[in-house]
Amino acid sequence: MSTLHTVTKPGQVMALCARAVVSGDSVLLIEDAVYELLSPPTGLNALPDSCSVYVMDIDARARGVEVSAPFEVIDYDRFVSLCVDNEKVLSWF
């Protein structure tokens, strides 16, 4: 059973989320959490290798944050699909 973790803020919130993630979970960065891609990625590095990380397109664009592999840019339609595909959604903010 897998979980989608949505993260809304970088830094401490991202780090807390990372500690709750297990192998097979997915992480979606929305709002200010997209800044996590600019900072030394301590929280993101703490994620298990098998964990997919998605970035909300409109939030990254709005903040001038460029997204490159292995991170995948998604829209709200895909966010909904991720909620369906995972049994649970946990929100970190």
Partner: protein, 119 residues
Amino acid sequence: MSHSVCVISSRAPYSGQSAREALDMALVSASYDIETSLLLIGDGVYQLLKGQETGQIPRKNLAAMLQVLPLYGIDTIHVDQVSLGERGISSDVLQEGVTVLAEGELPLFIQQHSRVFNF
């Protein structure tokens, strides 16, 4: 299916209403006879410090409110050991009735509940 609820509270007690409103959620859930856990992580661990005296600020004493949890069937408050360590808090300055979750226990503890409310 019988549900279980985990309320995660991650804010300090008096910076806003988050800690109070998370506690309210735990009390409502427990009062519906649902097995309910309260998990304090991040700055939420500050809620458990002994000796809180709120007489001089216009807020209810959150530590005192946490002590009513057993009356609602929540016999222990779970607290994240890593968050304590990061803040230089040793468990002897915490109030009674606390279960410390060791590093690595967090994911499994959260996952064993069917619904999670994060605050």
